[in-house]
């Protein structure tokens, strides 16, 4: 893939819609199923991923000319691990309650395929500013996915949003149960597919 010709806006919207990490690329599914029970969780983890993605992308884009091709992957891993450690320490220190809710998943960002993939396919070939916008797009795409799932699950399962009682009753406790994460992700993906199918059909009709 040659250096990108997309504008910054296109890079961001690409991450949120066309190549949404959760629903389209189907990467980083674990947190999407595991801790998307509330909007707050989704938001917090989304911020953490955004941070790691943006900083790692920029770091790699900045030093891409100095990386020996033989040690490309170890360098990526080291970069990601460093930024994950940083965000892990910061979250543990300043928002302990939310950090406890997310449990092990913050540390597991290090194994998220999405971040390595963006470094490999994008950041090592593009400028710092393009990588920055790409990272923002991917991070927001992930956050959008997590928040959307959290919205559905929290509203239907607990009748609350961000902890505030919205409905006053609990429509379907099932959605908060851990296993329902799979169903929610499956259904959301189907919705994305449906939109794509309808969109393509319209395009062809034109």
């Amino acid at each position: 893939m040659p250096a990108t010709t997309k504008t910054n806006f296109q890079l961001v919207s690409n991450g949120i819609l066309n190549e949404n990490p959760i629903f389209r690329l189907a990467l980083s599914m674990c947190p999407a199923v595991g801790i998307s029970t509330t909007v707050m969780n989704g938001l917090m983890l989304g911020i953490a991923v955004l941070f790691v993605q943006v900083f790692s992308s920029c770091t790699i884009a900045a030093i891409k000319n100095y990386i020996h091709p033989r040690i490309r992957i170890p360098t990526y891993t080291l970069t990601i691990a460093t930024w994950v450690t940083v965000i892990d320490l910061v979250l543990a220190a300043y928002v302990p309650a939310a950090y406890k809710e997310m449990g092990i998943f913050v540390k597991l960002i290090v194994a998220f395929a999405i971040i390595t993939m963006r470094l490999e396919t994008f950041a090592c070939k593009n400028t710092v500013s393009a990588s920055f916008w790409d990272g923002i797009g991917m991070g927001f795409g992930f956050m959008f996915g997590m928040v959307a799932l959290g919205f559905v699950r929290e509203l239907l399962g607990m009748g609350t949003l961000l902890g505030y009682d919205v409905l006053g009753f609990r429509p379907l406790l099932f959605f908060v149960l851990p296993a329902a994460g799979f169903f929610c992700v499956g259904i959301m993906m189907a919705v994305f597919n449906y939109v794509e199918i309808v969109y393509n059909r319209k395009k062809r009709a034109r």
């Binding site: 189907a26 990467l27 980083s28 599914m29 674990c30 199923v33 595991g34 992957i73 170890p74 891993t77 080291l78 691990a81 460093t82 994950v84 450690t85 892990d88 320490l89 092990i104 540390k107 597991l108 290090v110 194994a111 998220f112 395929a113 390595t116 149960l177 851990p178 296993a179 329902a180 994460g181 799979f182 169903f183 992700v185 499956g186 259904i187 993906m189 189907a190 919705v191 597919n193 449906y194 199918i197």
Partner: protein, 320 residues
């Protein structure tokens, strides 16, 4: 021939296992053969010879406490002596917390008029049973895929065909055992003593890459056939969050070497089981008429959700 040897081996292993599971723990006093929990509120002491009834039936000769609370003595309700006077059963007023080791002191044991001194015994659940419960726990009850929702990317990527699923599962099990043991060692002897806990993530991910590389090299040299079959999965292993989650859990729970081995093995085998189950269903799904919007991953997720619901039924189960 080969099969016979294998069967013999399996039988031997099973007998040893069974022997361990049925016997209680060996004790520190020569006159006492074993001590064990029975039911919810009993401790049974087995002596090597008959003891005097007058001694055995006197509750003031025994004192029992939970190991962390030496100052709180448990109340003994009744004492029963078996007809051959070799087994004493202590019944307690309240149910015992059998997850805690208990300390039992029997003062001035007398057998046929002779005094045999005081015995301080620990009563605990059979250790092998505990190890086994960690293994089964990680494998089924707390299956990493269906109850902890980890390793999903690789799980959905490699569960299309049974052959791929089994190959991935086996490769993964090997790598996770190797890397978890190394991680345990480094954590216990380097990271913790020097208070470098915050380096956990970097160290563990480094170890995982290292063990993947090591298994790759060794397999390539030692058994090229096997490498051909499993080599492709090695790269995927590193993208699986379970492999990094297991060392983190080990570090959190302060497991010892054997327990860590069991957890890692259980996690690997659990992943294998999950992959196998899923691939069996997905092979059939190929033939099913799925609505176009659900084709591929979405329906796989729904199936995984059903599995997760089924696995919810295991939760809270305890063995031994």
């Amino acid at each position: 021939m080969n099969i016979v040897i294998r069967k013999c081996l399996l039988a031997a292993v099973l007998t040893v296992l069974a022997a361990f599971l049925t016997t209680g723990c060996a004790t520190e006093h020569r006159f006492i053969k074993k001590t064990a929990f029975k039911d919810t509120n009993q401790i049974v002491i087995e002596f090597a010879g008959p003891v005097d009834e007058a001694w055995a039936k006197n509750p003031s000769h025994y004192s029992v406490y939970e190991k962390p609370d030496p100052d709180i003595k448990l109340k003994i309700q009744t004492i029963t002596l078996s007809p051959d006077r070799k087994t004493v059963a202590l019944t307690f007023a309240d149910p015992l917390n059998q997850n805690q080791p208990h300390v039992l002191t029997a003062t001035g044991i007398t057998s046929e008029g002779k005094s045999l001194g005081t015995a301080i015994l620990s009563v605990k659940k059979v250790y092998l049973g505990y190890l086994f419960s960690i293994l089964i726990g990680a494998m089924i009850i707390n299956n990493f895929v269906f109850t902890k929702y980890l390793g999903l990317c690789v799980f959905f990527g490699t569960s299309q065909k049974k052959s791929t699923a089994v190959g991935m599962g086996i490769t993964f099990t090997i790598v996770i055992v190797v890397s978890a043991m190394m991680a345990w060692f480094l954590y216990q002897f380097v990271l913790r003593p020097y208070r470098l806990n915050f380096l956990q993530i970097v160290v563990f991910i480094g170890l995982v890459s290292l063990s993947v590389q090591a298994v790759d090299t060794i397999l390539r040299k030692v058994n090229p056939m096997l490498f051909k079959a499993f080599g492709v999965y090695l790269v995927l292993v590193i993208a699986n969050c379970i492999i990094i989650a297991v060392p983190l859990i080990l570090a959190d729970n302060e497991y010892n070497a054997l327990e860590s081995l069991m957890l890692a093995l259980g996690a690997g085998l659990g992943f294998l089981i999950a992959l196998f189950l899923m691939s069996s269903v997905r092979e059939r799904l190929e033939l099913a008429r799925v609505p176009p919007t659900y084709r591929g991953l979405p329906i796989a997720f729904v199936v995984a959700g059903l599995f997760a619901l089924a696995f919810l039924g295991f939760s809270g189960m305890s063995i031994f």
